[in-house]
């Protein structure tokens, strides 16, 4: 009991250090720094390198990590945050998300993806107190973490730059009027936050014993949960949230096993967002309203093709693979088509209705599992399972996301991210339904007129036909009254409500229809591979879907298809490695956000 609580506190102090950084940055730059999780990973990996390869002592390791991660924080701010200060908040959200992908996968290329042992450097089981066993390591972690928190607290209260940071967090404009150098203060906040994150990486690495370049994403998500739990922007809240989450996780793991950790984290995060979005210590503004997407697309108009051009492209999509392409290339085509369907679901949700979803893998997974389980366990025909998959994905999407409608902006995106991760965690944990980590295999191919649809070309024709139907559906919805109402919701929620539009209903409807489309895509996905498991529906799928639509032009249905060809088809055809591919996605997303926010298929109207 006490053992578990202590383990939770020690682990939670890593979360607390990370959450402190997140809250500090949120306060100063008004940005949720999605790259912060990667700082933890870089801290852990460089700490490992200093201590194992270079054989430095602990104090030198900590100093080295401080230098590396401090620099990384500075670079993140200069590249991904400062240039977008005048852009709408969604831009910095996407760019920091992109940086995190770049850093994680860059680290994988440098260090190799394998998990390695992190030497404890300190004894883990040499002390005892009234029957409670612990080690110098535990004590050191707690002392260093608490010490850093106290130093930060003192720095913010008593020093000149600390006061400047607090002033900027309270009111940027007023602080600038008083002669506070905003750029320097913001740089400083990023450096401090990242140093805390790097140190957390070393401490967490020693504690976890095993690390890999992707360790950041799991710990980072816990830190998000911790910061939100405490109330974003509140530093005492970050500490309390981190420690509390650490303890809750520790007890959950001791009762339900290690796989339950992610399930607990994201369930806690979602419940906090639903019940008390301002967190334990945060304050809620009575009237805050900034459109999340709004003028990001300011001057963007989507490129429109003439009907005959679309017809020619559609015919070519059928004919060319049939006459000119080999089976391998056709299989790539199948993947492009499925991702295009997933991306089109985001065109509705994020482009038309303006709700940026970082978890569109969720309805895809739900659709895939529904179809896979129905066709294998109950022997239901694929054609019947297809609409059921769509409906189940739609209903669950709405149920999971709609409690977040009283949230705004960033919080909605965090809720979608948590939803995506929660669904993947549920697929791992709900063995009785999903067969756990081993997944569902031997999913039968669909049959049409008595013939099995399993040859690559046949699957391609089937998927392409569904894609064209979905494309038509999305285009018609966009041009309707409903499409115009969604646009109003995207542009300005307050004004939309005062024009008689029930904003929450229309957001739910967008997620519902988007979920239906993604669920259909998931069913196709499952039948196409014949095998699915939870790892297929990780955050990288959500990221890829979002990158596709941002690259193609968030508000352009055709852009979703073009984006899928570029991002799914090309890397496959070039046989790129997984890490290189993810790295490319991250860099592309960053470049598009910085240099061409309207996307490939959007053009500037002025």
């Amino acid at each position: 009991m006490l053992d578990t609580a202590l383990a939770g506190l020690v682990n939670g102090s890593s979360y607390a250090l990370l959450a402190l950084g997140l809250s500090l940055i949120f306060g100063v730059a008004n940005v949720i720094n999605f790259a912060h999780a990667s700082v933890f990973a870089v801290g852990a990996m460089s700490g490992w390198w200093f201590s194992v390869d270079l054989d430095w002592p602990l104090w030198a390791v900590l100093l080295g990590v401080t230098a590396v991660t401090g620099l990384l924080g500075l670079v993140i701010n200069v590249i991904a945050v400062t240039p977008l200060a005048k852009a709408p908040p969604i831009a910095a959200l996407l760019s920091t998300f992109a940086v995190s992908v770049v850093v994680d996968n860059g680290a994988q290329l440098v260090f190799g993806p394998e998990t390695r042992r992190f030497p404890a450097l300190l004894a883990t089981d040499n002390l005892g107190l009234g029957g409670l066993r612990f080690g110098t390591l535990d004590v050191t972690i707690l002392v260093v973490a608490i010490g850093l928190m106290l130093v930060l607290g003192w720095f913010l209260r008593a020093s000149r730059y600390g006061r400047a940071i607090r002033a900027v967090a309270q009111d940027r404009d007023a602080a600038a009027q008083m002669g506070i150098p905003l750029a320097r203060v913001q740089n400083l906040a990023f450096v401090i936050a990242s140093v805390l994150g790097g140190v957390a990486g070393v401490l967490g690495g020693m504690y976890l014993n095993n690390i890999s370049p992707t360790v950041g994403s799991t710990v980072g998500m816990s830190a998000f949960a911790a910061a939100t739990l405490g109330g974003l922007g509140s530093l005492p809240g970050a500490v309390a949230g981190g420690l509390l989450l650490g303890v809750v996780e520790a007890f959950g793991v001791s009762w339900w096993g290690g796989n339950a950790r992610t399930l607990i984290t994201f369930a806690v995060l979602l419940i906090v967002l639903w019940v008390r979005p301002s967190g334990l210590f945060g304050k809620r503004a009575p009237l805050a309203a900034e459109p999340m997407t709004g003028t990001f697309f300011g001057a963007a108009r989507t490129v429109r093709l003439r009907p005959w051009q679309v017809a020619v492209a559609a015919v070519a999509a059928y004919v060319v693979p049939a006459v000119a392409l080999d089976d391998y290339t056709v299989q790539i085509g199948v993947q492009v088509v499925v991702y295009a369907i997933l991306a089109l679901s985001l065109t509705l949700v994020s482009g038309q209705a303006g709700q940026i979803s970082l978890g569109q893998a969720a309805p895809l997974a739900i659709g895939a599992y529904t179809s896979a389980l129905l066709t294998t366990a109950t022997g239901l025909d694929f054609w019947l399972s297809l609409p059921i998959s769509g409906v189940v994905a739609a209903v669950l999407s709405v149920v999971l996301v709609s409690p977040s409608w009283r949230l705004r902006g960033h919080y909605v995106s965090i809720a979608t991210l948590a939803t995506g991760l929660l669904v993947a965690a549920a697929a791992v944990n709900f063995d009785w339904l999903t067969n756990g980590p081993s997944g569902v295999s031997a999913i039968p191919p669909p049959t049409l007129f008595g013939a099995s649809v399993s040859a690559p070309l046949a699957v391609y024709f089937l998927d392409l036909t569904i894609l064209l139907v979905v494309l038509l559906l999305v285009v018609r919805l966009r041009r309707s009254t409903l499409g115009r109402i969604w646009s109003a919701v995207r542009e300005d929620e307050v004004a939309a409500r005062s024009s008689g539009i029930a904003v929450a209903d229309y957001k739910s409807l967008a997620f519902g229809i988007g979920g239906f489309v993604a669920g259909i895509g998931g069913a196709l996905f499952a039948q196409q591979y014949g095998y699915i498991d939870p790892s297929v529906f990780g955050i990288s799928v959500s990221l890829l879907a979002l990158t596709i639509v941002v690259l193609g032009g968030l508000n352009s249905p055709l852009g979703a298809v073009v984006g899928a060809i570029v991002l799914v088809g090309l890397p496959e055809a070039l046989r790129m490695l997984q890490e290189t591919r993810m790295l490319t996605y991250g860099l592309l997303l960053l470049a598009v956000v910085l240099f061409r926010p309207q996307g490939l298929m959007g053009k500037v109207a002025r």
């Binding site: 009575p286 009237l287 709004g294 003028t295 697309f297 300011g298 963007a300 559906l473 018609r476 919805l477 309707s480 009254t481 409903l482 499409g483 115009r484 109402i485 646009s487 109003a488 542009e491 300005d492 307050v494 004004a495 939309a496 409500r497 005062s498 024009s499 008689g500 539009i501 029930a502 904003v503 209903d505 229309y506 739910s508 409807l509 229809i513 109207a605």
Partner: protein, 280 residues
Amino acid sequence: MTVLEVTGLRRSFAGLRAVDGVSFTVEPGEVVSIIGPNGSGKTTALNLVSGVLRPDSGQVTFQGRDVTGWRPERLAAAGLSRTFQNGRVFGNLTVAENVLIGLTPTLQAARPFSRWRNVPVLRWASLLAETAVALVDPPAVRRELADRQAKVATQLDRFGDRLTPRADLAAHTLSYANRRRTEIARALASGPALLVLDEPTAGMNPAETGEVLEQLLELKAAGQTILLVEHKIDLVMRLSDRVLVLDAGSVIAAGPPEQVRSDPRVIEAYLGKRRPAVRP
């Protein structure tokens, strides 16, 4: 029937009583203005009336129905339209589309079963029907749309050659004054029983202000009931039937414009109290 009746409205923010027991009525065809120094609670009062904020206590009755705590979309559908202090238009929609959005509560063919929208689960029947209609686009919907587009053109014509030539431009390309006009056209489009305007001429020069005043006088002559918050005293005096003066969240004077203008409490609220001369 009284259009709007507000009794004992209160709302505080972190201990500060922004609106502290405000009561007033607006009768059909009346123009009622709320004036008062900065921070006296005018905009908060409008936000409470239009459902953007919920009152801590007090009652709002609109056309005989108790609408206290109604959400703004429901109030808008019931016939209470408003504009905002800083002007809120849908930037990437055209001027015509902006006004068309204002007609949303009047749509029937495009939004079937809309009376179910306030019923918990049943609202999905209406939302799904709206989706189906959007996909099929039946003749009834097209006829309705054509009719509403004609109404939009009439609204735009109200502003002479200010908006009509720009009907197909994105709203973010407009000048500030034209954005405010677009917003007023959007609020008027559905033929509201009460039009609530929050500083419609803020940031406009005297010529533009005069033009808006003329248009508001025309509206008044046509019988439009208006509740107005405004700083420009000349406009308030010429337009209003009655004026309500707020100070520190409370009504300190109310009545016809001339009477309010000479009320010593009003002068004191705006200019401060004359101190008795101090002799050594």
